[in-house]
Amino acid sequence: MDSALIPEGVKRCSVGKFLIFLGVVGAVLLWGVFAMLLCWIKGLNQTNMNDYYGFALWIWADLAVIALGGGAFFTGFLRYIIGKDELKNIINYAVLIGFICYSSALLILAIDIGQPLRGWFIFWHANVHSMLTEVAFCLSCYFGVLTIEYLPLILENRQLEKVPFFHHLSHNMHEIMAVFAATGAFLSFFHQGSLGGVSGVLFGRPFGYREGIFIWPWTFFLFTWSAAACGPCFTILITKITEKVTRKKLVKDNVIELLAKISGWMLATYTIAKILDTWYWASVTAPSKGFWVLDFYSNNPFYGPWILVLEIIICGVLPALILITESGRKSKPALLLAVILAAIGVSVNRWVMVLQVMAVPVMPFDSWYMYFPSWQEIATTILPVAYGVILIGLSHRYLPIFPQEKELNPVD
């Protein structure tokens, strides 16, 4: 029925099957939309957020997807600026994942702020001193870049491509993609960094506060670094999942391994930097404010300091070691484990640097409170996941996302 839209030379599941898939994920999406509307109409009292968890699940999801979407800018950077040509076989997917992640981030932000209709104040009445202003500008601009990067992919649809205007547009955009990739990399450096700066500049919150270089706290660089390291891991992870779901090999191993190797070294260096940062913070910054490092964790009744072990050792050192060793990269289960851990690691880092910064008591007579998100928060957090799955489904079905698919899966 929709065969005219499907790229030539590849095989897709039946329309019925695809519609069932869309229906199931669409139902989840609608559930999320319902929760979103509740939050917009009734206000944020629909959540379990409070004055001690003003930054909660959503902002965590926001920072996490932005970090995980970092694969787009870094892969683009490697492909177009450094000239790792093999990566052209995965760049499309990296861009799509990035697009999904960034549009989700913007959507979550639109739900998370108390006055969505005033959201544009951040641009119109911008305070240049605020890290969040920097985030907003770079994030929006980079989303624009991602849209521009994603657009030619859409235009490559078999039917759209027939329109000469679109065909030429798509072709010309491909030609100048390096410019956009460079812009994207530049913007990403700043917004990933300024997201790190969000907690790093809070000198009233010794848990998050970091000293730094010029106006940037160290978390500025650590966030960019970790996004560059873990974003591609997430791209690999999603590629692997897509291959599993479609029961097809979509990207050749050498491409994956190259990306994994680069990520591995990024992750390794990042982890070293993170350890140094943690050490300096624990031994110099925090004590100067009167805190022994375990003070920050001791009152947490749930996970205590174990979260530090999880983030740095299990989800930092371990995946880095797997990815920088050739045998680790070549072993499929090890690679999968490594990219999963890396994705978890960067998410845990964002959790710590967002929720905990606000929840750790600073006044000696204040307390740690626990928080569990309401169903509305969970639903609205799952909403972008459902939306991402649908967009991937549609894109995979109708767009030539994987250039190697035809070669790897010859149709009889």
């Binding site: 003003g54 108390g114 104040f121 951040i122 009167g290 007579f365």
Partner: protein, 259 residues
């Protein structure tokens, strides 16, 4: 250019914790003056708006050596360094600001779009988010004070040192051909109400104001001074453990830094 400027002032508070009885009159005076809303259930203190909150500090000892002390916590109106208080510089929409004229950290409710970054920045939990629409039982909205805007849901609010009272005092001064006001012309609602006379308010830089001397009391301290927030609310306590409880200290610092 400068002729239109009013003299720079630095309003601040000195709260005598030896006198404070923890009665909560300051909290209610503040709520009544500033149109702070209330819900049917306000027992969840994590979403209960109290611009001025009275904390109960305990010395951690067991009966009969236990002791406690109340500590009223308004907004500290941190000066940080050169007015860069923790919250002011982080607001992306310039909804909160620090004025060198008064030293007051302002919050403009109609500008705020509710990102809550300032709340994350404030270590004193002095900022409150309006999770709910403010609702008064029918008829009760009659007591609302027109000098203070009622806050809509979805934005952050906090203690303003009753800034509207400064505005009104200045209006009177202008009417009478003055550009300056006397100490008594501008007092916050909590200061005025405190039945124990524990709160003193004025210009910290003005030697004629009581707070100028009081803040030099050897028993005076500020909350979390070590963070560099440079708050403008001072506390006085003759009890050492109370003064110690105002900041964080490492064990080896021997709790002797402030006596």
């Amino acid at each position: 250019m400068n002729k239109q400027h009013n003299k720079a002032k630095k309003f601040g508070m000195v709260i005598d914790l030896d006198k404070c009885t923890g009665c909560g009159a300051c909290m209610v005076a503040c709520m009544a003056e500033n149109n702070v809303p209330f819900k049917a259930d306000e027992t969840n203190k994590l979403d209960s708006i109290t611009w001025l909150r009275v904390y109960k500090l305990t010395n951690g000892k067991s009966f009969p050596n236990a002791d406690f002390c109340y500590l009223p916590r308004p907004c500290m109106h941190c000066e940080g360094s050169h007015g860069h208080s923790p919250c002011v510089s982080v607001c992306p929409a310039t909804a909160t600001d620090y004025s060198h004229e008064t030293g007051i950290v302002s919050q403009i409710y109609t500008r705020c779009f509710g990102c809550r970054y300032c709340m994350a920045a404030c270590p004193y939990h002095a900022r409150y988010f309006n999770w709910w629409d403010p609702v008064w039982p029918e008829g009760m909205e009659k007591y609302l004070n027109p000098n203070v805007s009622v806050r809509m849901r979805g934005i952050v609010e906090k203690c303003s040192f009753c800034y509207h009272r400064y505005q009104l005092a200045m209006e009177k001064a202008y009417y009478e051909g003055r550009r300056e006001i006397e100490e008594q012309e501008y007092q916050t609602a909590c200061t005025q109400a405190c039945p124990a006379g524990a709160i003193v308010f004025g210009d910290l830089d003005n030697p004629e104001h009581a707070v100028h001397e009081l803040k030099k009391n050897p028993n005076a301290f500020r909350l979390l001074e070590r963070l560099g927030t440079n708050p403008k609310v001072y506390y006085i306590s003759s009890r050492e453990w109370v003064r110690q409880a105002g900041d964080n200290y490492l064990r080896q610092e021997g709790k002797s830094e402030k006596n």
